[in-house]
């Protein structure tokens, strides 16, 4: 296995520690825990340096590791939103649709403005809690795809599942996440307002 030079690991801390900490601190209230998450991120990065393929920037790669750590932390501390009715039974996709294949509960209009700080903060909080509440395998596949930016082919290899299975899981994950975000109060400003 390739060892990163010490210079490299030190440089990571100088370059990215504050940004990672700022992100972690917004997700967890306890300063010491946020520091631990950042330290664990660097430890994991050094240990898995050989797996970093340089397809994403170093910064994105480190943020990906941190986000996985945050999800683990939320899951461990049950700081999650679990939408039981849909999440437990993998075959209950039809809960979202009626028997004619139309929407059972219709998606709401999201009024989020990604440019606004406080809206992002709240949305991100809900997002991480909802993601952490998904069944682990479902959350892992989603995180590898959307957070780490892996292709479905890469995820298959990594997790030993078929590509078709991967698509099915991603569909479930997206459907559950958007439903969860609506349920936890990420609600439209005006209910039923035209999108």
């Amino acid at each position: 296995m390739q060892e990163p030079s010490q210079l490299n690991a030190d440089a990571w801390v100088d370059l990215y520690a504050d940004a990672l900490f700022n992100f972690a601190r917004a997700r967890v209230k306890d300063r010491a825990i946020a520091e631990d998450l950042v330290q664990d991120t660097f430890l994991a990065a050094v240990q898995s340096k050989a797996r970093y393929k340089g397809e994403s920037s170093e910064k994105t790669w480190l943020f990906g590791i941190l986000k996985h750590k945050i999800i683990d932390h939320y899951r461990k501390n049950k700081y999650i939103v679990h939408i039981q009715d849909f999440a437990d039974d993998p075959d209950r996709m039809e809960a979202f649709f009626n028997d004619k294949g139309g929407w059972q509960s219709r998606p709401a209009h999201w009024s989020n403005n990604p440019g606004k700080a406080h809206e992002n903060k709240e949305f991100l909080d809900h997002f991480f809690r909802c993601l952490s509440g998904l069944p682990k395998r479902t959350a892992d596949v989603f995180a590898h795809r959307e957070i780490d930016g892996l292709s479905t082919a890469e995820i298959c290899t990594l997790l030993g599942i078929t590509e078709n299975n991967c698509w099915v899981i991603l569909y479930r994950a997206r459907m559950l996440l958007r439903k969860c975000l609506e349920l936890v109060g990420y609600t439209p400003r005006i209910k039923g307002h035209e999108a």
Binding site: F23, G102, A117, W167, L170, A195
Partner: protein, 87 residues
């Protein structure tokens, strides 16, 4: 199944898949037709875009009175030493 007979359940599956690999032209057109008529599936598509964006946020935009949180130099030194110790 005929392309013009796509139901919301089918359309959402295909929209989801389009976020992971390119769809055949016929499916893309059928989805566009459906989206013109169905605001809920159109919302679904926009929500998947949001999920993708939010997944990739790194630097949170903060208001000016809310300064970014920083690690102390002592903590950074401690982390560097820890990294050295595992090599």
């Amino acid at each position: 199944m005929k392309l013009w007979m796509f139901r919301c359940q089918d359309v959402t599956q295909k929209i989801s898949r389009s976020f992971d690999r390119p769809l055949p032209l016929g499916h893309r057109l059928a989805i566009q037709m459906h989206l013109m008529m169905c605001r809920y599936c159109a919302r679904f598509q926009r929500q998947l875009v949001m999920l993708r964006k939010i997944s990739r946020i790194e630097d949170e935009h903060r208001s000016s009175d809310d300064a970014p949180q920083k690690l102390s130099d002592a903590t950074k030194r401690r982390i560097k030493e820890k990294l050295r110790s595992i090599r």
